[in-house]
C-alpha cells in the first residue's frame, strides 16, 4: 500500500471510531427531539458535565471512565427525568422560541457552574492505555479510541433493543408517532416524555464519559459540542436514531479525511460544507422523514 493510501485508510479508520462516539452524543439529541419535539440547546453543556464527572471519578477514586460510565449514565438519567418533569414539561406546548430560551438559560447555568467549580484549565484522565495502539496489518489504531467506539456502539445497540423490544420503548415510539392516539389508549405520555429526556441525557452522559478518554475537558468545549451534535443530527436526520449514528460516522470521517487532504486547521469547514449540501438537497437529513404541514 502506498503512503498516501495508508494515511487515507488510517484517517478513515480514525474517523469511523471517533464518529461512533459522536453518534452516541447526537443520539441523545435526536431521541429527545424525535419524541418530544424539543431541541435540547444544553446538549453540549450536558456532555461536558459527563466529561467532568468521569474525570472526577478518575481523579478522586482512580475509577477509569469505562467503569464510571454506568453510574454517570444513571445519574444523568435521573437528572434528565427530573429536569423534564420540573422544568421542560410546562414548556412542551409553548412556542419554540420560549423552549429555545429556556434551554439556552439551562446551558448558560451549566457552563458557568462548570467554570466556577472546575476552572478554565483543561483536565484529562491519565489512563495507562492512553499511549497504546493496536496494529492491524499496516494500520495503527489508537487503543482508547477503539475501546470508546466499541462501547458507544454497544450502548447504541442496547438503545435500539430498548426502543424495539420493550413495552416502554414501544410506548415511547407510539407517543412520538401519534401523541393524541397515545393519550386515547391511556399511555402516560408525561411520564414517557420524562423517561425519554432521561434516556437522551443518559446517552450524552455516557458519551461524555467516553469522550474524556479522547479529549481533555474545559468548560469552553460545550458550545462546540452543541454545534457538532446539531450538525450530526441535521445531516443524519433529526429524530432518526440510525440517522444520528450515520451522521456521526460521516462527520467523523469527513473531519479526518479533510484534515489529511487539505489544511487540518480548516477541517471543520468540511463538516459545515456537508451540512449545507444536505440542507440544500435533502433538508430532512439523510435518514429523516419529511415533515408534512
Amino acid at each position: 500500500m502506498n503512503d498516501f493510501l495508508l494515511a487515507l485508510a488510517q484517517a478513515v479508520a480514525k474517523g469511523l471510531l471517533t464518529g461512533m462516539v459522536y453518534g452516541l452524543m447526537a443520539l441523545g439529541l435526536s431521541v429527545i427531539f424525535g419524541v418530544m419535539r424539543v431541541v435540547n440547546f444544553a446538549h453540549g453543556e450536558m456532555m461536558v458535565v459527563g466529561m467532568y464527572l468521569a474525570w472526577a471519578a478518575f481523579d478522586a477514586l482512580q475509577v477509569p471512565p469505562m467503569l464510571s460510565l454506568p453510574a454517570i449514565a444513571a445519574v444523568f438519567f435521573g437528572a434528565g427525568y427530573l429536569l423534564q418533569r420540573g422544568l421542560i414539561q410546562p414548556f412542551i406546548n409553548r412556542p419554540e422560541h420560549q423552549q429555545f430560551l429556556l434551554l439556552l438559560a439551562v446551558a448558560t447555568l451549566i457552563a458557568n457552574a462548570c467554570l466556577a467549580i472546575a476552572g478554565p484549565d483543561s483536565l484529562t484522565v491519565q489512563l495507562e492505555s492512553r499511549f497504546d495502539s493496536y496494529e492491524m496489518g499496516p494500520l495503527v489504531l489508537d487503543t482508547v479510541r477503539v475501546q470508546a467506539a466499541f462501547v458507544a456502539l454497544l450502548i447504541t445497540a442496547l438503545l435500539w433493543l430498548f426502543f424495539t423490544r420493550t413495552r416502554t420503548g414501544k410506548a415511547i415510539r407510539a407517543a412520538a408517532d401519534n401523541h393524541m392516539g397515545a393519550l386515547v389508549v391511556g399511555l402516560d405520555v408525561r411520564r414517557l416524555y420524562a423517561v425519554t429526556f432521561g434516556i437522551g441525557a443518559a446517552c450524552v452522559g455516557a458519551a461524555g464519559a467516553l469522550m474524556i478518554m479522547l479529549v481533555p475537558v474545559t468548560p469552553s468545549l460545550a458550545p462546540d459540542y452543541t454545534l457538532l451534535a446539531f450538525v450530526i443530527v441535521i445531516v443524519g436526520g433529526l429524530g432518526s436514531m440510525t440517522g444520528a449514528l450515520l451522521g456521526g460516522l460521516l462527520i467523523g470521517v469527513s473531519e479526518a479525511v479533510a484534515g489529511l487532504l487539505g489544511d487540518p486547521a480548516l477541517k471543520s469547514m468540511f463538516s459545515f460544507g456537508l451540512l449545507i449540501v444536505v440542507l440544500l438537497l435533502r433538508p430532512q437529513g439523510l435518514l429523516g422523514r419529511k415533515e408534512t404541514r
Partner: protein, 415 residues
C-alpha cells in the same frame, strides 16, 4: 438669663462639626506620609485572569519572592509592589496602567503579552513613568522611539536567530544532522508570527535541512491524530513543533500512538518544558528539546531565587515567567539605588545606564542599547531529564549532557 453651658443636641452637632474640621487634616497628613516614598512603588501589570491567567500567576511568583531574594542577597532595597490585572486584554491593560500611575507607582513592570505591553507602553510614555518590560517579544516595543521603556526580553528576531544558532550547536555536539524537517504549527497569532519568522529567516540562516511541509492546526484542536499522521507521512528526519501546552501534549501522545520517532527540536515555543507537560507525559516527556531563554543554573542569584521559590511555592517548577519578572524588578531596584530618587527622569537615566553582571537568566550583563533593548540575553537548549527541564547548551551554562537524537518511545532509557 441663658444657660450657656447647657448641653443640647444642637451643641453636640457643633462640637462634632468642629472636631471633624480639626481632625480632617490628620488622615490627610497620614496619607501624605504614606505616599512619601519610603520604598519604590512598582506597578506590576500582568494577565492575572482570562486566557493567560496561569502565565500571569507564574510571572507574579517572581514578584512575590523578589523582596525576600533582595534581602537574602543583602541588597539594600525593598519594593512596594502592587499588582494590576490586565485580564489578558490590551484595553484593560491600558486602564489598569492609568490606575497604577494615578495611585503613585513610580515604575511600571509588565505585561507578559506583546499586545498588552504595547498598551502599557503608550500610557507609560504619555505619563512619563518608566516601564521595564518583563516579557514581550514584538519588535515595535523598542522600535517605536519610546523614551520611557526598557525591555529585558529578546525580540522575536533575536529568539529565532538564537534558535537557529543553537540548533547548529545541537547538530555539531551530537554529530547528527537532519536533512529534512516538518513543521507542526498552531494556527493562532503567536504560531503564525513564529512560522512567518522561521520562513523569512531560514534561507539566510544557512540551516542544513529543508522544510518539506508545514502543517497548521486549529488552536482549539481536540486531537492531532490526522496532523501527526500527515507529518509522519512526509518521512522528515526532524519535527519542529510550534505549539502551546495543550496541543504539545496531544502531539506527543499521538506520536507515541502512531510510533513516529523523528528527531525533534522545539524552536522557541512554550509547552514542552512546562511542568504540566512533564507531569502528564511521564516518560514520554523525557528527552524533549526546547530552545528558550532560561534561568542560568550556574548563577548564584538563580540558586537563591530557586530556594525562595521552592519555599514559597512548593511543588511548582520555577520558569522563565518568574525569572524574567524577577529580573525586571531587579532592574527597577538597581535603577532606584543608582538614581537615589523616584523622579521619572532620574530613574529613566539610571535605567539606561543599567549594568548588572550577576542576574538569573542566561546571558551577558543586563545592559540596554539606545532603544532600550537588552541585547545580551542568550537562548538555551533545554532538555527534559529526570522530570525537569535542564540546560544542556550553551556549554558554559549546561547542567546536563545533551542526548540527540532522542531515544525511541520504547527505549529503556525512558523511565
Amino acid at each position: 438669663m441663658t444657660d450657656r453651658n447647657r448641653f443640647t443636641r444642637r451643641g453636640l452637632g457643633r462640637i462634632a462639626a468642629g472636631a471633624a474640621l480639626v481632625g480632617a487634616p490628620l488622615p490627610l497628613r497620614f496619607a501624605s506620609a504614606q505616599s512619601a516614598p519610603a520604598n519604590l512603588k512598582v506597578g506590576l501589570i500582568l494577565p492575572m485572569s482570562g486566557a493567560q491567567a496561569l502565565i500571569g500567576q507564574m510571572c507574579k511568583h517572581g514578584a512575590d519572592i523578589a523582596n525576600d531574594v533582595f534581602a537574602d542577597l543583602k541588597l539594600p532595597v525593598k519594593l512596594d509592589i502592587v499588582t494590576y490585572d490586565s485580564e489578558t486584554k490590551p484595553d484593560v491593560a491600558r486602564t489598569q496602567t492609568e490606575k497604577a500611575v494615578e495611585a503613585g507607582c513610580q515604575v511600571l513592570v509588565g505585561a507578559f503579552d506583546s499586545g498588552q505591553t504595547i498598551a502599557v507602553a503608550q500610557v507609560a510614555e504619555q505619563k512619563g513613568v518608566p516601564l521595564v518590560v518583563n516579557i514581550a517579544a514584538a519588535p515595535p516595543i523598542t522600535e517605536s522611539g519610546y523614551k520611557f521603556i526598557v525591555r529585558n526580553f529578546p525580540t522575536a528576531p533575536m529568539l529565532l536567530t538564537s534558535a537557529f544558532d543553537l540548533q547548529k550547536q545541537i547538530f555539531a555536539v551530537s554529530g547528527v544532522t537532519p536533512k529534512t524537517a516538518v513543521v507542526l504549527c498552531i494556527n493562532d497569532t503567536f504560531g503564525s508570527a513564529m512560522l512567518g519568522g522561521i520562513k523569512a529567516m531560514l534561507p539566510k540562516a544557512g540551516m542544513p535541512y529543508e522544510i518539506l511541509e508545514t502543517i497548521t492546526y486549529d488552536a482549539a484542536a481536540k486531537d492531532l491524530s490526522v496532523e501527526v499522521a500527515k507529518a509522519k507521512a512526509t518521512k522528515a528526519d526532524m519535527l519542529m513543533p510550534i505549539c502551546r501546552l495543550n496541543d504539545a501534549k496531544l502531539m506527543v501522545q499521538e506520536m507515541v500512538k502512531q510510533r513516529w520517532e523523528p528527531m525533534s527540536i522545539n524552536p522557541g515555543t512554550p509547552g514542552m518544558y512546562e511542568q504540566d507537560f512533564i507531569k502528564s507525559m511521564g516518560k514520554y516527556g523525557e528527552y524533549t528539546i526546547s530552545i528558550q531563554p532560561w534561568l542560568d543554573p550556574k548563577s548564584n542569584m538563580t540558586k537563591v531565587l530557586d530556594k525562595h521559590h521552592t519555599a514559597k511555592f512548593p511543588g511548582v517548577q520555577i520558569d522563565i515567567d518568574a525569572g524574567f519578572t524577577f529580573e525586571a524588578l531587579l532592574i527597577a531596584a538597581n535603577a532606584w539605588l543608582a538614581a537615589k530618587s523616584t523622579k521619572p527622569d532620574a530613574l529613566m537615566d539610571a535605567l539606561r545606564k543599567t549594568k548588572i553582571d550577576e542576574h538569573v537568566m542566561v546571558g551577558g550583563p543586563i545592559q540596554f542599547d539606545a532603544k532600550g533593548q537588552n541585547v545580551n540575553i542568550k537562548g538555551t537548549v533545554l532538555q527534559n531529564l529526570q522530570r525537569k527541564p535542564k540546560v544542556v547548551l550553551p556549554k558554559e551554562s549546561a547542567e546536563a549532557t545533551l542526548t540527540f537524537p532522542q531515544p525511541g518511545w520504547g527505549d529503556k532509557r525512558r523511565t
